[in-house]
């Protein structure tokens, strides 16, 4: 890593009771790249996302975003700084319409009493929201209640409404999880397109094909620590990783990784 990464998690430690979810975990995401994060279940990937976006506080360590320390920032502050995220189990506002979902992120900017007197969604905001819906391909559903969307459409909506506020970095927690193959390609395609436009991505995913074809850099986590970072080709062929994760993951069920194996962790 030559220049300072746009997002840097530095020696983060986080324990839940006796479980050490993160231990001395350091990961950096370079500006303009698509970075991947893989590892078996329970290796601390989602915890890493949570501490980076303010949902959990680290016990030790620091988090920097574009040179600024955000270790103790709240989620709304983190988002305002330009770090957006999606959730593993897709979370949308199911009783609002798709369009209203899109508008939520642009409402928070105005403070106090003015937000009480201003109508939600200016024509400009609506136009922008519609462009983004068109970009992900669900513009025709704009007036539908978000609760009526399919799982894949919800994934797309979640991606779209994070984009509304134009964050510099987007953390995607399993964007391809539970989604049919053609939609996976569509999502990957959209991520690449956004990346071409300058967005930086950090992606947690169990689908190895997806990660390896999409990401410029892949970080492997095991037992709360980042054990390896490198381009997909290197990571794919690295014997440690192959033994510990991909061997099991590529053949069969990506979810039930070799939790009990400790080969890679000892390296």
């Amino acid at each position: 890593m030559s220049s300072a990464p746009l997002l840097l998690v530095d020696s983060a430690c986080k324990a839940f009771g006796g479980v050490q979810a993160l231990s001395e975990c350091s990961v950096g995401v370079e500006e303009g790249t698509i970075a991947g994060l893989i590892g078996p279940n329970g290796s601390g990937k989602t915890t890493l996302f949570n501490v980076a976006t303010g949902y959990e506080r680290v016990d030790r360590g620091e988090i920097y975003f574009s040179g600024r320390r955000i270790t103790r920032a709240s989620p709304d502050r983190v988002f305002a700084l330009g770090l957006g995220r999606t959730f593993q189990l897709t979370r949308i506002f199911s009783r609002l319409s798709v369009m209203e979902n899109m508008l939520v992120a642009s409402q928070a900017g105005r403070r106090g009493l003015r937000s009480l007197c201003t109508r939600a969604g200016s024509p400009g905001e609506r136009r922008r929201a519609l462009e983004l819906l068109e970009f992900v391909g669900i513009a025709r559903l704009a007036s539908k209640p978000a609760g009526s969307l399919s799982y894949g459409q919800r994934k797309l909506l979640e991606l779209a409404y994070v984009l509304v506020a134009d964050p510099a970095v987007i953390l995607l927690d399993e964007p391809a999880g539970g989604v049919n193959p053609s939609l996976i390609n569509h999502i990957a395609d959209r991520i690449r397109e956004l990346n071409r436009q300058g967005k930086t991505f950090f992606v947690v995913e169990h689908n190895m094909e997806f990660v390896m074809s999409l990401c410029h850099q892949v970080t492997v986590m095991h037992q709360g620590t980042a054990i390896l970072t490198g381009p997909p080709s290197t990571v794919r062929s690295d014997p440690r990783v192959l033994d510990a994760y991909l061997g099991g993951a590529l053949e069969e069920d990506p979810g039930d990784g070799p939790e009990g194996q400790d080969g890679a962790g000892s390296l």
Binding site: V78, A80, I92, R95, S97, A108, A120, L133, S143
Partner: protein
């Protein structure tokens, strides 16, 4: 479902930009008819004491307006945020005590001057709501409900025991010297004014940026947080604002009944009534709590007058609560709205087959189901229109 697909198909053919223009224009056209409907209902409300001059009737009118305003205010927090507080009687009681204590201390004897204390009562209620909210809003869901009840009982106990409230002997309100025949009318119009403000407020919040943040909190608070919504601030603001009209009607109530006792000013049944009114009419709609209060409060007054037994209306309340849960779990307004929407979709679907993209029905119905910004004009009737009201105005 097939019909929906057809309607959707028709709309797909056009550009999405045109799609979005549609609800706006639709709304603009509906706005005239809608404003006329509200004005007509308001005119009825204003004319009511002239037509029904019997003091018993106007007295029921005053209580009904008080509860309509309170239920609307309660709903402007509870319905939009999804938090169910059962402690708004604290604000009602605070408003009531503010009026009688201030009138006593300022030696106001009666007449219209006392009404000048009503805004003060509202301000005190808001001042009470801020620390109340700071504590209670740290919790969610069931815990929040229980905490608000607990805080409510703390206030009731304080009213019984503090010197300033003069304990269980209560404090008399100033006695106005108005003629008996039109005595109630003054209270009626003041309560009506507060109701109009509360309803306008509820409607305004619903379509505002602030309101969309509240609705987002209702659906998924943590997700809203990660989209930059400052949830603590938004919740507290909504909670404090909802206390304002409640404190004001509490003051009017105190002046109207003439004596404030702790057990009536801080009455747990107030909370249950207000919540039940909102649930019956439709939680989270503008018109629902108005309709709910319009049904329940006269009913309660009628039972109290007719059988002079407080217990009977409680039995009716309990029974009604069960009926609402069993038959109308979402309340009258949303249920009726959905019925009308599906009826319309069927009808517009058959015309869409013949005449292409007559998609208005499809657009509107989906918005009715979702509620919200684009459909806000439809979603919110300021005055109780009766079950078929919103449907008629949409046309």
């Amino acid at each position: 479902m097939k019909v929906t697909a057809l309607v959707q198909g028709g709309r797909q053919a056009r550009s999405p930009a045109a799609d979005m223009e549609e609800p706006w224009q639709q709304e603009r056209r509906a706005r005239g008819a809608w404003a006329a409907g509200v004005a007509a209902l308001l005119a009825i409300a204003i004319a009511f004491p002239w037509v029904f001059t019997n003091p018993t009737t106007t007295s029921i009118g005053v209580f009904t307006l008080i509860y309509m305003a309170a239920a609307t205010a309660w709903n402007s927090f509870a319905g939009y945020s999804g938090y169910i507080p059962l402690g708004h009687a604290v604000f009602f009681g605070s408003g009531a005590y503010t009026l009688v204590i201030a009138a006593q201390d300022l030696h106001i004897r009666g007449g219209y001057t006392v009404f000048a204390l009503v805004p003060l009562a509202g301000a005190v209620a808001v001042a009470v709501a801020v620390p109340f909210g700071l504590v209670a809003l740290r919790t969610r869901r069931h815990t929040f409900v229980v905490i608000t009840i607990a805080i409510f009982f703390i206030f009731q106990l304080m009213a019984f025991n503090l010197g300033i409230t003069q304990g269980s002997s209560g404090i008399p309100a100033p006695t106005p010297t108005w003629p008996a025949a039109t005595f109630n009318d003054r209270f009626y119009y003041v309560a009506l004014a507060i109701l109009v403000v509360a309803a306008a407020f509820s409607w305004g919040i619903r379509r505002s940026r602030f309101g969309l943040q509240l609705l987002a909190i209702r659906d998924d608070e943590d997700r809203a947080l990660s989209l930059g919504v400052r949830v603590s601030r938004v919740k507290l603001t909504a909670f404090a604002l909802s206390a304002l009209p409640v404190g004001m009607v509490g003051a009017v109530w105190a002046y109207f009944i003439g004596q404030v006792y702790p057990q009536f000013a801080f009455d747990p049944l107030f909370d249950i009534s207000v919540a039940l009114m909102a649930f019956l009419g439709g939680l989270g709609t503008v018109s629902g709590p108005l309709l709910g209060a319009l049904i329940l409060e006269p009913l309660q007054q009628y039972f109290t007058l007719q059988f002079s037994s407080n217990a009977l209306y409680l039995v009716v309340y309990g029974a009604l609560f069960l009926v609402v849960i069993l038959l109308l779990p979402r309340g009258i307004i949303p249920t009726v709205r959905d019925r009308v929407a599906s009826w319309r979709e069927r009808r517009s679907g058959s015309t869409a087959l013949a005449s292409g993209p007559d998609a208005a029905g499809g657009v509107l119905s989906s918005e009715m189901a979702g509620g919200g910004v684009a459909g806000a004009a439809g979603g919110g009737a300021v005055s109780p229109p009766g079950p078929s009201g919103p449907a008629v105005r949409r046309g």
